[in-house]
């Protein structure tokens, strides 16, 4: 069973991620009164990127980007294999580190700027992810995803604060406004394209695929809040993931990018209020 779900994740995550990305573009376009691209546009984009000439600014960028992809795939596989959630989150951070290194290896002003901001983003979201893992441990008595999804009740019933906090920081991981500090969708903004400034063609395609893996991993973590031993919790979890994703899109469209200080302060305060309090209550009633 774990093998099946890992293989399923590895094969399907880019497809699901691509479709979600397409959904994002369509919904965003409708919110802005536009038609939006066709549903398969992300796949056309990736195909085109792969067909482009391999240009690079240095010899290690591709290697670091590929490492980023593989580590994200490993992190996701651990989640879908039902392994330890804390380890999964640690690997997620390690993966992100490779992206930051890929961006700084260029020694280019805009990608270095993006890398710096990405590091701040990591610092902003990491406390919540660790506390969330602790929250799952307090709620279910185990760090293991396999045990967490076998509980009689959904975890969200006792850890709504963590879900709220996680939705807050998911905006960082999905690179959504107001927290899309390290990169942008449009190259005319103040940091050009941030960490992806020097990535082109196949390198950029790999980065995009990695983001799809990450997106599915993040939504998998959202699903973890809802899944319990009953079969009907699975469709509920999928609906919940879609709702969270649509909320993120809405938030993306109605807010402007904030400064790093606001990002850090708000994430840390939300982590402390939502996650910290929720965890404290869980610990006291244990």
């Amino acid at each position: 069973m774990p093998v099946l779900s890992v293989v399923g994740y590895l094969v399907l995550a880019p497809l699901v991620g691509g479709l979600l990305d397409a959904l994002d573009r369509r919904v965003s376009a409708r919110m802005q009164g536009r038609q939006g691209p066709p549903l398969l546009q992300p796949f056309y984009d990736i195909k085109k990127l792969f067909s482009k000439q391999m240009i690079a600014v240095n010899s290690v960028q591709m290697l670091l980007n590929l490492s980023y992809l593989v580590f994200l795939a490993v992190a996701g596989s651990m989640l879908f294999a039902g392994a330890d959630i804390l380890m999964c989150l640690f690997i997620l951070s390690t993966a992100d580190m490779f992206l930051v290194m890929a961006a700084s290896s260029d020694s280019s002003p805009f990608s270095t700027l993006g890398a710096g901001r990405e590091m701040i983003q990591m610092m902003a979201y990491e406390p919540l992810t660790l506390l969330m893992a602790v929250g799952f441990y307090l709620a279910t008595g185990s760090f293991h995803v396999g045990d967490i999804i076998q509980m009689p009740h959904s975890a969200v019933l006792v850890m709504p604060g963590f879900l709220l906090g996680f939705m807050f920081i998911t905006a960082i991981k999905l690179r959504k406004s107001p927290f899309d500090l390290s990169t942008s969708h449009h190259a005319h903004q103040e940091m050009v394209k941030g960490i992806t400034t020097e990535m082109a063609g196949p390198t950029l395609a790999i980065m995009n695929i990695a983001e799809y893996y990450e997106m599915v991993l993040m939504l998998g973590l959202v699903a973890l809040f809802f899944i319990n031993e009953h079969w009907w919790s699975w469709p509920i979890a999928i609906v919940a993931c879609l709702v969270v994703y649509l909320l993120e899109i809405l938030w993306d469209n109605v807010s402007a990018r904030v400064k790093w200080r606001t990002l850090l302060d708000s994430c840390w305060v939300v982590t402390l209020l939502a996650g910290g309090l929720n965890g404290l209550i869980l610990m006291l009633v244990r």
């Binding site: 240009i55 590929l66 700084s104 020694s107 002003p109 710096g116 990591m122 660790l130 441990y137």
Partner: protein, 630 residues
Amino acid sequence: MAIIPILIGWPALMALVIPLLRNPRVRGRVVYVGAAVVMVLAAFLLGAWLQGGGGIVSLCGSVPVIDHLMLAGEFALMVLIVYLSIKYKKYPVVLLSVGQTGLITWSELTCPVESPTHIQLDCLSMLMILIVALVGGLICIYAVGYMQAYHQHHKDYQDRSGFFFSMLFFFLAAMLGLVLSENLVWMYFFWEITSVISFLLIGYTRTEEAVNNSFRALWMNLLGGFGFAIAIVVAAHTLHTVQLGELVAAKATIPVVLLAMAGLTKSAQLPFSSWLLGAMVAPTPSSALLHSATMVKAGVYLLIRLAPAMAGNMTGMTVAFIGGFTFIAASMMAIAQNDGKKVLAFSTVSNLGLIVACAGIGAEETIWAAVLLMIFHSVSKSMLFQAVGSIENSLGSRDIEDMHGLLLRLPRLTYIMGIGIAGMYLAPFGMLISKWVALKAFVDADNYLLVIFLAYGSATTMLYWTKWLCKLVSLHHTKVKVTDVTRKDQYLSMYIHAAATLGLCLLFPLVSSRVVTPIIEELYGTAHEVLSMSVLTTMAIMLISVIFVPSLMFLLTRSAHRHYVPIYMGGVNEGDNTYFTNSFGDPEHLYLSNWYLRFEFGRRRLMRPGVIISAGVIIVMLCMIIGGAV
């Protein structure tokens, strides 16, 4: 077990011989031999101990001669401190020194306590001996090459290398004696020696800053020593024993809390962190020694010994709070530092905080984590200090900003730095695994405050290491030529450290079951496996992915044909990725700086509140604990 006096005596003998040698070449050779013999002796002791079946070996019953010699030694140290304090007009230090020596003497004369064993060898002290002998010995070897380059760079300082090496060996002897002592009076003697030697090492250059910093280190450590002395007096008068093991078994509140305070000063926890940060003025080998193998490890060693007596009481809570608070505060302040050695210093303080917090909780799992953190920290930190020292000698600067693109300029040193940094915080190196276990244990101990400290502290730790690593791997071509002046003996030491870091990571399950579990068994009587098999499998997956993924990707992408293009610089790239055309049409040099967030995380902003909070907590809790116990 006759090897034990030789093990302690040999470095002390070397310390006496080395200053007599004037010729640097001969002295270098003698240092090599001396350090090698220390390591071999430690290995022999390990062999003899294992052959005897391991376990606890108690030695050295009543030896009045040594007791008297130690008392004489303490008086000699006191006279030295008094002389130097008066010479440099630091009078309050005199009171501390005279006070504690007087207390100990008074106690020994009025209330002599029969001691069944003075020296005890068990798993924990054996581990400490290995760390001190191997890491410390390698640092001595490294120092031979380093000090030559150091004095070529710093012509303004008087060359007192002989004295320097002598102090390094003395330090090793004192440390070995300290971890072997079971009798608190003996331990106190060695404790005082380490305080005084660190003071002499920090003041090596005799500049005004060095003198001030060395006296700060001295008074803080003497304050801890004062607590130590009071603990001995109280234990001797109320419990009629000065055996550490008996105090811990009896859970004697007042001596334990005072000894714990001594441990906190030595391991540079807030509010006593500033002495370790000031110790950076000394030549790098002494920093490496103070930070990794000796001195600060003496503090955490004592706290780990005391851990069973701190589990679940107020003393433990206080110690755990101070440790957790120091962990997060120091890791925040590390973000704002651009001096490589300062970052390492803050990270030492921060990591020690985590170890101290683990010791304060005093559960089996936390001690497991504490011991592992200690092992990994000594090796990685010693290597990082040596690498930064070598970079400084080659580059003429230890500013992280100057290390931009170091991978192209000093590749070998950069790889060593990279391994050290990865060892300090990345999955799946030991530090991270220990952190993971600590997190679980903090939850199990119902200490939510520590969980929060750990969650936030991990994030800030991540930032300061990542940005340093990124600075190193920037492929930035400069025209400034750098020659690597690092000598072979320095590389030898660093290579062994790098191999040890990687080896410890690969042999992690073995280290856990063969080294750490027996220590827990001896401290607590029982031990269960902290890491389950499934976690070890997960770790194996992580290890394989971390080592093999980048290498595999390297092989995959090496052959890929690429068309290299210049980077985008906003202004027109002049073609070399280093200069761009500015708005006046002139070429302008590209300069990329790291983020330091000085206004948010600067030492000036955080140090004072940190010291006030921690000092307040310590004073209030000390009053409550002692008041409650009397």
